[in-house]
Amino acid sequence: MSDATLKARSPLDGYRQQFGTLEIVELNGLALVSVATPLDGEEELKKAMTTAHKAELPAVGSSTQSSVDDTRFLGLQPGQMFAMFAHDGDRAVEFVAKKLGETGYYTDQSDSWVILQLSGADVRTALERICAIDLQDSAFPVGAVTRTVMEHLGTIIMRTGHDTFVLLSARSSAKSFLHAVLTSVNNIQ
């Protein structure tokens, strides 16, 4: 039996920086759980989401927000979504399972990603240097979410406000990803 308890570390040890009007913050304390829809199980999952979260099943490319709690559902691929909610522990799956029961297959993804939030008036100008997705309002409105690639790194991008975007990229390359974002910011200023 070990006396030591394990101390958690975030991918970038809580990065936060202001560049003119543009702010970059590493978001921590968020749980990410992938929910896969069992074959022919979509209806039950929908029901469970309505009862437990008052939330719609998100279409691929968009996200829905629970109206009773802080859970956001990210529609990332057919038959699979991410549930994102505030949670600082390592028991995220249990929380989701408690609500949705056996209507989905769950995999904890909370430790798989580095999460950066970019906000400010220049945010689109900075992102256009690394993001091939058209981020203007008509093409990528608030709430939109998708996986794409930036500087050779797979990235999930979600628009959470008019001038606010949340980027998720693989944890192991968090430093390279931050470097890519910072380079864009430097290059436009």
Partner: protein, 982 residues
């Protein structure tokens, strides 16, 4: 001579004097100048040398089509070869030198080539330099190479930085001349997202270089008003200094924006930005390029395109000559005479090939209709011209106009082929334009101002409407239609002297005729044999002439003779810009495991494994070479316990009611009956029956498995599994998600591994051999409640485990393990020791799973189940994959124990010569085994399993070694595998 050729007017800022250097001579110019216009203003005529004959060359044009005025810009590591002076913006302190001469520009030693020109006609080098054979690489080629080429690279890393970006728009408008501006205004006013790109730093195109007026204001002023309006609209993105260089599939365009080339110093910002523009529609308004006429000695400095001559006068207030003659086959040429005269420049003559009424010309100018220029004089700058009738006329500049070629380049980048228009004596865009592209203005053959404005205006209207934007009032800009008649005239027959077609590559009329004479008659043969149009200007001013002369030779029309295809880029693009940020350490991302920082602090040496950095070994004080560290680490694992970060292995979460059935289909061996809480080694085949990847898969519940893949194949295997899931067996309830990043995983290996882990796992968890035997797995907690996964698997052949915790605890976990291990002399070991241990056990890895070997070759033939439908099982049974004399993976030990084995050596039966015929296999992996005290190897050899004990040669011709090795079992250490079950 300070700006001796500067005249009144122009769009330069005389309040900002800029000084610059050309061949170390200090000169002055003004803001708004290009290097070329500043040189013109200073009366500089000779600016370079031609490629082959090293003939004196002067500025020929005023735009990106320039073939002659190529300079080396800037100094040191910033040195930039082959820069066209005509597009280089002047800045204070600009430093430029001329290129391609030995000795001073004025007295180029290689000018001697010109005297030998009779022997250096087109393709001469294909007919000689063949004897003696050895001389080609040793003598001829080095001489040719050293005199060829133009500018010089610094040979040092490019110090500038570059960036890229993505833009999206409804309408991309290429070119901000009259047509482009008219189109942009209309499209933008309709509310469409517009991108307007122009290569110039001052939009307006020929409105800036001509004296026309639009809407009753001077053209240049109208242009700046239009730009002002467009800049004020937030649905418009105005990109100046931006060349759209290529048209790609589905409305994607490549564009290069120059950001700091016009500045003395980039200030740490990107020099250029490479934009990839996604457009729904594109309107090409690229204008047209003037072409020359071929006549005797038409390549002298001071002989220029007529439109460029007046461009220098009108826009840059610089006259290329004080006594200018004009030689034209069209009305436009005359405007050069009148415009320069208006600036007070003397016009000595206007020679028009057409036999018709002369147009209005300046007084004092000699007019010759239906005449031609046959020859010129003046070594470093033109002094006089000779007419067909033998008359000689003095001039210090000859303005030549052979008509205008629409800039159809981008219309050809996909399948488009230009069509001939007789009235223009030029090619215009043909059918098969890139999807979504339309062409207007001069680029479309509308060579007059009002026609260009109208086409731009109209097309933008219909494009906007087509995209569903509202119709808004937008008036058509008014302008006059100037005279623009032309009568095709290509080259002056009477000239006996050489007449140049391609000024940079020194291709003359004679060369084209010779090409025809020798049978190189297709346009492509002509181009390749004579190098016509292969220079840095891609023949923008030359191709038409060459085509016309070839047509004359074949007696066919120009369209019958063909057209050369324009390929991207429209104008050359720096390789640095195309690479963007991807250089040095930023070439590709770096993936770090959670224990990386800890390993760094231990002084570990790291190695690239794909994008991952992995600890290779952990040197201890006093260890002077890597072998000492690796031997120690391997021995310590065998005798006590070692810890190795295996986080990089691919991990895939496989869930669903049919997960087991799915695994049964993708693995060659069976998985359907794997019990919950158990782990199994799995071998995956490709559909062609070759081994693809291997790993262990653990069953955590009835519906949940955790699969591991090799680090190298993680991504490809996931893709393959998704293919199986979505395309082959969509009826199965199975779901995949990568968990590689979610878990920090450590191998704890060695006789003391259980004792160590007992100090880590929580008390209620029994990991005794009985409760947690070999190949067991389970979800447990460690260090007081932290969730973890424990697998009892072994790559080293020792009692061993792999323990995984959520990545956030990875750093803490390695520290906890090392601390808990202190009392057992635990050590951290890296990938090298990992390799030694697996080779001692005969486990296959990347070098064995090389994509060319079957399960049989690997000694796992029996694992391939014949009782089920598995990827690869059918084709693995093909005869040649199951030959009697097939390869087998076996071990090799040096007969002389002191010999070092080398991977990559080939096996040859003792006594046989090392030849392809005698080749029996190769050594895949080697290591020094500290446990056995000698070098050991794994390798494939024919019939290996039948040849145990045989001595063969490991032939390594590359490293001059031929080692006797004994064929042995690949299981060098603990062959019965007792140690891992205790």
């Amino acid at each position: 001579m300070s700006q001796s050729h500067r005249i009144d007017g122009g769009q330069i800022d005389r309040s900002k004097t800029l000084s610059f250097f050309f061949n170390d001579q200090r000169l002055d110019g003004y803001a708004g100048d290009t290097l070329a216009s500043a040189l013109v203003a200073n009366g500089v005529k000779l600016v370079g040398r031609s490629f082959k004959y090293h003939r004196p060359r002067g500025i020929f044009s005023a735009g990106s089509e320039e073939p002659n005025a190529l300079v080396q810009l800037r100094r040191g590591t910033f040195q930039e070869p082959n820069t066209r002076a005509t597009v280089a913006e002047l800045f204070d302190g600009l430093y430029a030198t001329s290129q391609n001469h030995r000795g001073p520009l004025k007295h180029d030693l290689l000018a001697i080539n010109d005297f030998f020109s009779p022997f250096m006609s087109a393709g001469f080098y294909y007919k000689t330099f063949m004897w003696p054979k050895a001389f080609w690489e040793k003598i001829y080629e080095p001489i040719i190479r050293s005199s060829a080429g133009l500018g010089r690279l610094s040979g040092k890393a490019d110090p500038d930085i570059y960036d890229k970006g993505f833009l999206h728009c409804d309408v991309l408008i290429i070119g901000a001349g009259p047509a482009g501006l008219a189109a942009a205004l209309r499209a933008a006013r309709s509310g469409a997202r517009v991108i307007l790109a122009d290569e110039d730093f001052q939009p307006g195109g020929r409105l800036n270089t001509e004296t026309y007026s639009v809407d009753d204001t001077a053209g240049a002023d109208w242009a700046s008003t239009a730009i002002a309006e467009l800049s004020s609209m937030d649905n418009v993105r105005l990109l100046t200094r931006t060349t759209v260089y290529g048209a790609y599939d589905h409305g994607v365009y490549g564009a290069l924006e120059s950001r700091t080339d016009h500045l003395r110093d980039s200030g740490g910002k990107p020099r250029q930005i490479l934009w990839r523009i996604c457009s729904r529609r594109a309107i090409l308004c690229a204008g047209s390029t003037e072409r020359s006429i071929a006549f005797g000695n038409n390549d002298r400095p001071g002989i220029m395109m007529a439109g460029s001559v007046r461009a220098y006068a009108n826009r840059w207030a610089a006259t290329p000559g004080k006594r200018v003659a004009v030689f034209t086959n069209n009305d436009d040429g005359w405007r050069t005479a009148t415009d320069l005269a208006a600036h007070g420049v003397a016009i000595s003559a206007v020679i028009d090939t057409r036999d018709k009424q002369p147009l209005a010309a300046p007084s004092g100018a000699m007019i010759a209709m239906g005449s031609t220029v046959t020859d010129t004089k003046g070594r470093h700058g033109i002094r006089s011209i000779t007419l067909a009738n033998g008359q000689t006329i003095d001039c210090d500049c000859l303005a030549v106009s052979g008509g205008w070629n629409p800039n159809v380049h981008l219309t050809c980048h996909q399948r488009g082929r230009p069509q001939w228009r007789d009235d223009l004596a030029a090619f215009v865009p043909g059918g098969d334009l890139p999807t979504g592209m339309s062409v207007v203005g001069a680029a479309n053959g509308a060579l007059t101002l009002s026609a260009a404005l109208k086409q731009g205006h109209d097309e933008a209207g219909s494009v906007a409407a087509g995209l569903g934007f509202k119709k808004t009032k937008s008036a058509l800009p008014k302008a006059e239609d100037e005279a623009a008649e032309v009568a095709a005239f290509w080259h002056v027959g009477q000239s006996n002297a050489r007449a140049w077609i391609d000024q940079q590559n020194d291709v003359t009329v004679k060369d084209v005729k010779l090409s025809h004479q020798e049978g190189y008659r297709s346009v492509e043969h002509l181009k390749r044999y004579t190098t016509l149009g292969m220079a840095t200007d891609q023949g923008k001013t030359a191709n038409m002439l060459g085509l016309a002369v070839m047509a004359e030779c074949t007696g066919r029309s120009i369209p019958e003779t063909g057209t050369t295809i324009f390929r991207p880029p429209y104008s050359p693009v720096p390789i640095g810009a195309l690479a963007g940020r991807a250089r040095g350490k930023d070439f590709r991302p770096t993936r770090l495991s959670p224990s990386h920082e800890w390993a760094e602090n231990q002084g570990a040496t790291f190695v690239e494994t794909g994008q991952w950095l992995r600890a290779q070994w952990f040197p201890k004080p006093g260890e002077t070479n890597w072998r000492q560290s690796v031997d120690r680490e391997a021995l310590q694992v065998r005798s006590a316990v070692g810890i190795c970060d295996v986080t990089t292995l691919g991990k895939i979460d496989v869930q669903g009611r049919d997960a087991a059935e799915f695994l049964n289909k993708v693995y060659a061996n069976g998985f359907a009956k794997l019990a919950v809480g158990k782990t199994r080694y799995g071998l995956m085949l490709r559909e062609d029956g070759i081994a693809a990847d291997d790993g262990t898969t653990a069953r955590l519940s009835e519906t949940r498995f955790v699969m591991t893949t090799t680090t190298a194949n993680a991504v490809a295997i996931f893709r393959h599994l998704e293919f199986c899931r979505q395309c082959l067996w969509p009826g199965l309830d199975v779901h995949l998600i990568s968990a590689t990043e979610q878990w920090a995983q450590y191998a704890v290996a060695g006789p003391k591994s259980r004792d160590l882990l007992r100090k880590i796992v929580d008390a209620d968890i029994d990991i005794s051999n009985e409760a947690f035997p070999f190949m067991a797995c389970g979800e447990i907690t460690v260090c007081g409640g932290t969730p973890a996964r424990l697998f009892r698997i072994s790559f080293s052949g020792e009692l061993a485990y792999e323990i995984a915790v959520p990545t956030r605890y990875g750093d803490a976990m390695i520290k906890a393990l090392m601390k808990a291990g202190e009392e057992f002399d635990a050590i951290a070991y890296g990938t090298e020791a990992l390799g030694v241990l697996r080779i001692e056990k005969g486990h296959a890895a990347g070098n064995e799973l090389c994509g060319q070997t079957t399960a049989c070759d690997l000694g796992m033939g029996r694992m391939v189940s014949k009782k089920k439908d598995t990827i690869g099982s059918t084709l693995s049974e093909r005869v040649d994959l199951n030959r009697e004399d097939g390869l087998t993976l076996v071990g090799f030990a040096p007969v002389n124990r002191d010999d070092d084995l080398k991977a990559g050596a080939h096996f040859v039966t003792k006594g046989n010569a090392a030849t392809t015929q005698n080749d029996e296999g190769w050594m895949t992996s080697v290591a020094y085994s500290p446990s056995l005290g000698h070098s050991i190897g794994l390798g494939f050899i024919k019939r290996g399993h039948e040849r145990m004990g045989e001595i063969v040669q490991a032939a390594d011709l590359l490293r001059g070694m031929n080692t006797d090795v004994e064929i042995v079992s690949p299981h060098f250490f603990d062959p019965e595998g007792e140690r891992l079950r205790v």
